[in-house]
Symmetry: C2
Subunit: 113 residues, 2 copies
DNA sequence: GCCTAATATAAGCCGCTCTTAATACTATGT
DNA sequence: ACATAGTATTAAGAGCGGCTTATATTAGGC
């Protein structure tokens, strides 16, 4: 209902799991429900509420086919998170460089000993 | 204290803000506190507790200098999130391709009309 | 129209997280 | 040793998010 940040949505393990289940393409709500209910031991309305959160925050698109609802990932908010992470990429890139340097030094030291 | 997912840590806006403040390098707890207290209207202990969560979950490293604590980002958990996002990158890459195709078609159509 | 299947919404309870206030810890200066 | 600055911890209260049960909606078959 209220406008929440993308990270708040992904803070819940059930919602992350649902997105993982959708990575290879759309699935019906009932299919998602069966899996998630089994894995997390929650009820059908419980799953449905998580689907609502994903919907309301733009993480999924829904297609109706008869009484069934087919959910699919909408990548927009994920891309937003990706953008947020962007500024930190330099940090681990830099650390990998340091590791690389360290490894090279290690090899050189072994050679000289 | 308990092991939480990286996304749970980033679910809080104060903690995200602290990480943003640390992106350009380390800062003292007090400096972070002053900014965050002002922006979010919370108390010093409030900030300190968020710093604890970041510490306990490996998002920050701390260096003591006298009574001061200098915090810096540790990129490990952020990289973990980046890895999680990896599988969805194809989705928006694909969408950008579609957009690109659409733009090309648009140009072609305008030319033929 | 009625029955069933598929999914969503409503209302209430419970637990957890965030907050504050009070307090403790640690280091430095005098 | 004492005072003060900087930071962390503890305890307790408030609010919110998520779960459940019960109910409503929507669509299709007979």
């Amino acid at each position: 209902m209220c406008a929440v940040h993308a990270f708040d949505v992904l803070g819940d393990p059930v919602r992350r799991r649902i997105l993982e289940l959708l990575v290879d393409g759309e699935r019906a709500a009932g299919e998602l429900g069966a899996i998630v209910q089994d894995e997390f031991g929650i009820s059908q309305p419980g799953v449905s509420q998580h689907l609502k959160v994903l919907r309301d925050n733009g993480f999924t698109r829904v297609r109706a086919e008869g009484a069934r609802r087919f959910y699919a990932v909408d990548p927009d908010p994920l891309q937003e998170i990706d953008t947020w992470l962007e500024r930190y990429r330099a940090l681990w890139a830099q650390r990998l460089d340091a590791l690389d340097t360290e490894l090279r030094r290690g090899r050189r030291d072994r050679r000289t000993t």
